[in-house]
Structures are given as structure tokens and as C-alpha cells.
């Protein structure tokens, strides 16, 4: 890799790399993100490369292993460029046929095409798949174009041109006013205006300042930042460089979850490559700007997503938040001015510098500009990463992109914003999704997790789930969060186990409000949202648990019983074999029986039975 010493050299390299890519007749793009890796995509990539080489096509056909395409459930995913022919669930055994038929003869292999679960029809092109066609993909569209481990790929698509432009043409103040004019707000959930944060940090005197990328995506059910960092680490790095130039920082940190090993690996490779090319280090591209980045691995504490706790963790300490009477832009990491933004926020920066603030602000709503990536999961047909303009309705995301309910059960709610957010019922599905409107409805957009729940999900159990999550993750520093969450969990546990009393509901609400008003950090302040939103919208489910000791969704173990209906049981013995608690007896080919004293009500037998013979009462 050549070392770039001045700005003109980057443009020359870019042209050279583009020229090199033009020599290839076509490209086979194969997803190598965490999701597709779980479905054996590394084996698929190796098999395709081997087959291409065997046929002597390696000078004509480029095989590119990329980061996540967002449609993880269909993995491994393969796209042919040009033309965007889309294959899904590809296995290594398909490699020979793919090269022989599709690459050489241009034929389409029907079995590998995607079937739309709504219409039942086969779809050949990526852009015709409803999951993709209803989206407004911008940040995610890069994922297909670059191999995350190749800085050349990123430079070839115009990468690092934004920092080059900033260094040679735009002074730091103008960079900040562009970011402000674009209306970019923090994608981590709080939605603080990024430009204002940068301006405040720039104004603080001092030479030692820091920028941090928060990739400690601890919200369960959210993985947008993992995908961005995994798929396009150089984009995030370039955003950080522009931010550092604007505020006057010379050192940056990427704080990334240890639970994301591929993101850690790709970020490390990217930093190393950027250093080797002189894009990190002293006097970048011949300018006066010097900047370097270190990777810090998170230790698996949810609270470290909070800015002050995260900074304590980078300092090698226990991740406990501190009061924010002095903001981190003034006294952050090692008490120096620090700008912390999350992965998606940083990733938006280079294109604002390249395309201008008005381009960015042309999408979105009045208060929330640009696009936002969501992780759509749970009980919908199409799950995966979804990028839409701010202001798109929940209905459009769940039904148009998500394809509606998965198991034939009606959709009941969407949980947004993770443990800090809430559950919104179907009646709120016409809410536009942006920073402000979901907060008004009692939830929050958060970093972008969106878990769809159907009639088989008990909302009291969901509240209990988040409370036990928060009890486990509360750092214990402040009393309201440490003890308040404990007491709320006790009450909700009573309710789910049939000991609930009507007066506990008002106590629960009062407690929830106190915790949110008096906790120290954002984690505690929002800890009550799952309880308050379910109490607000699913009052009747709480009432059924408390007054009738029943769980309408059939989830809460203490309130349900499993029985085998003799007329439907074929005596196949599958349930008997599956029951981990040895609670089922019966002779072969005769109806089986569940021993109530030994049944732990885990429901494993229900998922194993092929005759729908086991019922929940």
C-alpha cells in the first residue's frame, strides 16, 4: 500500500483503483456479516472463489466478501453485479452450478431465488424484493460495495475524499456549521444536535481533546452499529477524523463491544491500514492535522453505553456514571474536552461534508433529518436491518418492509428503544418514527431496535423481562435505580406468578415515576419506560393476571397448564424424548400423558409436537 503524503495523491490512487476494477466483467458480492457467517457464508465464499479459479475466470470475475446486507434471515446472500440478481440461502454445494450456469451462461437458478412470503412469488432482482424496495438505503448501500478489510475498496468508491476536502478547503468552524445546518442529531438515542456538541467542545480551550466512537451497542434487539462497523469501518473512521479536525482533537477511541468479535477485528484492521497509508498519524495528507485512533473493547456492561460510564471504562476503571453537572464536552475522558458520538452518527458525517447540509436535510421530518437504520426483529415475516427516512410510520416498517405477522397470530405491539423504550400498541402504528413523536407516545426511538410482538407475547412478561435485564445491568451507584428496579421487579414477578393484588398496580406506577425522576443517569431515568408503557397501553393484560389469575398470551408459567389431548396424540414419543424434565409418560402408539407434579411448564413439548396435540390452558 502506498503512503499518501499530500492530497492530490489520494485522487490519483482513487482513479488507479477504479481503473483496476473496470477490468472485471462482473462482481459476485457475498455477504460475510455475522448473520451470514452463522449460515456458513465463509464456506460459500471459499467454494465460489475455488470454482472461479478452476474455470480460469479470476481475471474476469471479482468475488467480493462484504459486511452485512441486512437481510440476515435469508443468508448466505449473494448478489451479482451488474444486474443485481439476488440469490439467498446459498450453500457451498451450489458453487459449481452457480459458476457454470449463472456466471458463464447467464442463466438464473430458480431454486436460489427469493420467494416473497406475502405474494408467494419468486423475485430475481434485489431492488424488486419488497423488503428492500420499501426502504431508503443510503448508509447501508455502501455495505455491498466494499470489502470491509480493504481500504482500497473504500478509496475506490470515493472514501477519504471528505476528510481530504475538509483539510484542504474547509476550516473547522465551517465543518461544524455544515453539520449543524444539516440537522444531524445523535443516533445513539438521545438525539442531541451533533453540531452543537462539536461547537461546545471546540470552544473549550486546551490542546488535549478526544473524540470517541460509541460502539457499545448494548440494547438487546439492536445491531445497526455492529453492521455498520463490521461492513464499513473506514466510513466510521473517516467521520471520526472529520470530527477530530473540527473540534481540535488528536486522539480518538472506538469503544466496541467484546460480544461483536467481527466488528472488533474489522475496526482493528481498518485502523492499521489507515496508519500504513498515512491517513492516521502525523500531518495527515500533508496538512497540520495529526490524529490517531485506538480500539477499546467493552467488558459487557450495558451501563457503559452511557457516556460518562464509557469514558471511565476507557480509563480502565469500573464503568459507573457520574453526575453530568459538568458536560463531557468540557470535562470528559481524563477530564479533557471529549466528543462522543455513536457509530451511525459518525458514519453520516463524511457524506454531509461531500454532498452538503441541504442534501442531508432534504430527507426526514422537521426536527429529525436524514435516514435512520432500524433492526426489525421478532414476530414479522422479514427481519433484518432497515434504513428509512426519518418520519416513516411504524405501520410502513412493520407491514410493508416487515411483511406483517410471521406465525399467523395478530401483531399486538412493537417494542422500540430497548430497555429504555417502551411498547407501542397497533393503535399507535401511524406514528411517524423520529426522535420526538415516539417520545410523546410514551416510548422512544432509541438507537433503533424494533422488536415486533404478537398475541403469543405476554406484555407483563415483557415488562418483567426488561426489569430483570435492568436489575442485572444496574451499576448500583444510585439508590433509585438500584433499589427501585428491584422493587418493581418484585411486584411484576408477583403479578406473573399469580400473587398480584389490585393495589400493587398503582404502587408500581408510582414507583416507576419516582425512579425515572430521581435516578442519576440515563439508564435509570428511562428504566421505567417498559413498565409505564405496558401499564398505559396493556392495562387489560395486567388486570387479567391480577384479577383472574390468567395469562391471556399463555406465557406466565404459574398461570398455565399443559395437557395432551388424547384424541390428537399419535403416541409418536417425540415429546417424551424431548422433555428435559422427564415429565411425560406413555407407551408407543398410545396417547401420552404429562405428569403435572414433574412438569416445569417449559413448553418444549409444544414446540416438538407435530400433531398440535398439546394445549396450554
Amino acid at each position: 500500500m502506498p503512503r499518501l503524503r499530500k492530497s492530490g495523491e489520494l485522487k490519483a490512487l482513487q482513479r488507479e483503483l477504479q481503473e483496476k476494477n473496470r477490468n472485471f466483467r462482473s462482481t459476485i458480492v457475498i455477504c460475510g456479516g455475522t448473520g451470514c457467517q452463522a449460515s456458513k457464508s465463509p464456506e460459500v465464499i471459499a467454494a465460489i472463489r475455488k470454482e472461479i479459479a478452476r474455470q480460469g475466470l479470476d481475471k474476469d470475475i471479482l468475488v467480493r466478501s462484504t459486511g452485512c446486507h441486512g437481510f440476515c434471515e435469508q443468508g448466505p446472500i449473494m448478489v451479482f453485479e451488474p444486474g443485481n440478481l439476488f440469490y439467498c440461502h446459498v450453500s457451498p454445494e451450489d458453487a459449481a452450478a452457480i459458476v457454470e450456469k449463472t456466471v458463464i451462461k447467464g442463466e438464473i437458478i430458480e431454486e436460489l431465488l427469493y420467494t416473497d412470503p406475502v405474494s408467494g412469488l419468486k423475485v430475481a432482482k434485489e431492488e424488486d424484493i419488497p423488503f428492500y424496495s420499501s426502504q431508503d438505503r443510503f448508509l447501508l448501500s455502501y455495505s455491498k460495495k466494499v470489502d470491509p478489510c480493504s481500504i482500497e475498496d473504500y478509496i475506490a468508491i470515493g472514501g477519504y475524499s471528505a476528510i481530504e476536502r475538509a483539510l484542504s478547503e474547509i476550516d473547522p468552524e465551517t465543518v461544524i456549521s455544515e453539520i449543524s445546518a444539516a440537522g444531524l442529531r445523535g443516533r445513539g438515542g438521545a438525539g442531541f444536535p451533533t453540531g452543537r456538541k462539536w461547537a461546545e467542545a471546540r470552544e473549550v480551550p486546551g490542546d488535549e481533546k478526544y473524540v470517541i466512537c460509541n460502539a457499545d451497542e448494548g440494547d438487546p434487539g439492536a445491531y445497526m452499529d455492529r453492521c455498520l462497523l463490521e461492513a464499513n469501518p473506514h466510513l466510521v473512521l473517516e467521520g471520526m477524523m472529520i470530527g477530530a479536525w473540527a473540534v481540535g482533537a488528536s486522539q480518538g477511541y472506538i469503544y466496541v463491544r467484546k460480544e461483536y468479535p467481527l466488528a472488533v477485528k474489522h475496526a482493528r484492521i481498518a485502523v492499521q491500514q489507515a496508519r500504513e497509508m498515512g491517513l492516521l498519524g502525523e500531518n495527515i495528507l500533508g496538512s497540520s492535522f495529526s490524529f490517531d485512533v485506538e480500539i477499546a473493547r467493552g467488558g459487557g456492561a450495558f451501563v457503559c453505553g452511557e457516556s460518562t460510564a464509557l469514558m471511565a471504562s476507557i480509563e480502565g476503571k469500573v464503568g459507573e456514571p457520574r453526575p453530568k453537572d459538568v458536560h463531557t464536552v468540557k470535562e470528559g475522558l481524563w477530564n479533557k474536552p471529549t466528543v462522543l458520538n455513536n457509530v451511525e452518527t459518525w458514519a453520516n458525517v463524511p457524506s454531509i461534508i461531500m454532498n452538503g447540509s441541504s442534501w442531508f436535510a432534504s430527507k426526514g421530518t422537521k426536527g429529525s433529518k436524514g435516514t435512520k437504520i432500524f433492526a426489525l426483529t421478532g414476530q414479522v415475516k422479514n427481519t433484518g436491518l432497515v434504513e428509512v427516512a426519518m418520519g416513516t410510520t411504524l405501520r410502513s416498517i412493520v407491514f410493508d418492509i416487515g411483511g406483517g405477522p410471521k406465525n399467523g397470530k395478530a401483531i399486538k405491539a412493537v417494542q422500540t428503544g430497548g430497555p429504555s423504550g417502551g411498547c407501542l400498541p397497533v393503535s399507535k402504528f401511524d406514528q411517524p418514527v423520529d426522535f420526538d413523536s415516539l417520545t410523546d407516545a410514551g416510548s422512544m426511538m432509541g438507537s433503533g431496535g424494533m422488536v415486533v410482538m404478537d398475541e403469543g407475547t405476554c406484555m407483563v412478561d415483557v415488562a418483567k423481562y426488561f426489569l430483570s435485564f435492568l436489575q442485572d445491568e444496574s451499576c448500583g451507584k444510585c439508590v433509585p435505580c438500584r433499589i427501585g428496579v428491584d422493587r418493581m421487579l418484585e411486584i411484576v414477578t408477583d403479578i406473573t406468578e399469580g400473587r398480584g393484588r389490585p393495589e400493587q398496580l398503582s404502587l408500581l406506577k408510582e414507583l416507576a415515576e419516582t425512579v425515572s425522576e430521581t435516578s442519576l443517569c440515563g439508564l435509570g431515568k428511562t428504566a421505567s419506560n417498559p413498565v409505564l408503557s405496558t401499564l398505559r397501553y396493556f392495562q387489560e393484560e395486567y388486570a387479567a393476571h391480577v384479577n383472574h389469575k390468567s395469562c391471556p398470551a399463555g406465557v406466565c408459567k404459574a398461570l398455565i397448564n399443559y395437557t395432551i389431548r388424547p384424541e390428537k396424540c399419535s403416541g409418536c414419543g417425540l415429546c417424551l424424548k424431548a422433555c428435559p424434565h422427564e415429565a411425560i409418560t406413555g407407551e408407543k402408539k398410545k396417547a401420552h400423558y404429562i405428569k403435572p407434579q414433574e412438569c416445569m411448564k417449559c413448553g418444549i413439548c409444544v414446540s416438538e409436537c407435530k400433531f398440535e396435540a398439546i394445549t396450554v390452558n
Binding site: 457467517q37 452463522a38 468479535p261 459487557g300 456492561a301 469500573v318 431496535g449 417449559c602
Partner: protein, 166 residues
Amino acid sequence: MNMSTLDPILKGRRSQPHQLIEVLQDVQETHGYISEEAMKTVAKELGVPVIEVLRVASFYKAFSLQPRGKNVITICTGTACHVRGSNLLIDQVKGQLKIKPGETTKDGLFTVECVNCVGACALGPVVVQNGSYNHHVTPGKLRKIIEKSRGTRKEEAANAKTQKIR
């Protein structure tokens, strides 16, 4: 554990207290857990009080203070996995291995852990077995995963025995 086994990890990080978490991450990765001796060595070499090392090592979930089993089975209990039935998987291991998450079987073959989210939510429920991801896991699938790793271990032991005899 003597100082020299930690030498590669400590290289270039000595007397830098802020490197504590990174060093512990590497100790965890290389040795599978963080022993008392390792904590003492790290404390001395980085210039951090032992009590602070213990505080950090016990605060973060990434660190285990006890040796873990040969097979580490990590059940994702993130929201998306939860609504798709990851609690059934916990019931499965409780029944099959007679241990709770966070525990190791007596024979040292299995450790079961829960993680709040591995970020593969579209594929839930997800179980990570020794670093490799399994998607759409059902109790039955998990039973087979456990049986298989038990089987392989048994076969390995048998092979080792035959080789010895030869």
C-alpha cells in the same frame, strides 16, 4: 501462574493503569478465566491496587473468576431471542445438564452462560458454542448440539486411548 506466562500480554502496557481492562480481556481470552495470581501480577505490573483489579474483574461480565468448561455454551437472551423462546433453551440446559446459566458441569465439559444480545437478532434464538453461531435454535437443536459435543469429546478420549495402546 508465573509472571512470564502473562509477559506477551503485558508487553508495552506496563505501568499504564488505563490498560487494565484491555489486559484483563487478553488474560480472559488466553487463559479462559482470571485467576487470583493473574490479578496480583497484573496489579503489580500496571501499578493498580489489587482490590481495584478485583473490582474491575468482578464488575464486567466479560471476565470469569473461575475456570470455565471445555465447551462454553452461550445462550442469547436479548429481546428478539426472548420473544422467540430463548427461555425454553435455558430450561433445556437446566434439564439436560443439571446446571443453571453461569455454572459449569462437574466433569468440566460444559459451561452455560447467558448474554444480553449478540447482535444476530434476525436469526434468533441464537446460541454461540465455543465462538461459532447457531441460529433459529430450538430446544431439540440445542439438545443435539450438547449431545454432539459430548460425543466428540468421548470419541477424542477413545482415540487418545487407542493411540496410547498402540
